[in-house]
Symmetry: C2
Subunit: 156 residues, 2 copies
């Protein structure tokens, strides 16, 4: 499975026409393996540390991936950007769930945002995103079971 994702990543990057580097391949592979949007920090932790990829490089790769459409950048409530691999080419109007406690972001592939929304005169709309805020399964569960815990930021 790991090998497959790495191969898939390499193919996608090669397809894009740009240089195929280890950092790009590995970061994209990490995103492809993930089941939710990953922050820079998440990516660093999941990267094979033996590769020794610099944190700035990870930032630049994530930026490049979202710039060329291979990934999808989502600005979180918590001032952290998270990235999804854009396997299923995201429609111009799709939906995300954001957990207000731990920051977890997942794509809601089922739901779709309205494509046409009235904007003030002169404004030029480009993309519509539907954001559902609430608690992820983990946070909702720990909230209800362990009665009263401080609202500290979770780390799962």
């Amino acid at each position: 499975m790991a090998k497959t994702m790495t191969d898939a990543a390499e193919a996608m990057i090669r397809e894009s026409g740009a240089r195929v580097t280890r950092a790009r391949v590995e970061v994209l592979a990490v995103l492809l393996k993930a089941e939710r949007a990953l922050s820079h920090h998440d990516v660093e932790r999941r990267l094979n540390r033996s590769l020794g990829v610099d944190r700035v490089t990870v930032y630049r790769v994530l930026d490049w991936l979202s710039g060329c459409g291979l990934a999808h950048k989502i600005a979180g409530e918590d001032r952290i950007s998270r990235y999804n691999a854009a396997e299923h080419a995201h429609s111009r109007a799709h939906a995300h769930f954001q957990c207000g406690r731990c920051g977890t972001v997942v794509c809601l592939d089922d739901a779709d945002a309205p494509t046409e929304v009235p904007v003030p005169t002169g404004f030029v709309p480009h993309e519509v995103v539907l954001t559902v805020k609430g608690l992820c399964a983990t946070c909702a569960h720990t909230r209800t079971s362990s009665s009263r815990h401080p609202p500290a930021r979770a780390r799962h």
Copy 2:
């Protein structure tokens, strides 16, 4: 007008039952006068400098205002939080426009987001926000008139 907004702010805060302080009144008055969502920086610039309100206090007041529902916090693409006074009690499902160039955020009071969106099992939705990304009137205009300008971050 300025006096009226200050009075309105004071009344709203008094209504909330919490302490009525100069910082809270002035910050809320600034938000009430604004026609768009304001960042911490925006608020500081618009505060009468003779009041000498500390920047940390402004952060805390903005946090308190959004916490008690007198204002509405919006996380921007640019990692900056912006705040709207919640005059017209925001519905649980409303829409915002965010300019991808200068970061300007305005409430789209006309549009409404779908109230019911399917989420994964265990997830608990709380609020739905429809975000339209694009260019505000100013940015769209300067982009089309002065043909090719660098994509630097605007400051209006």
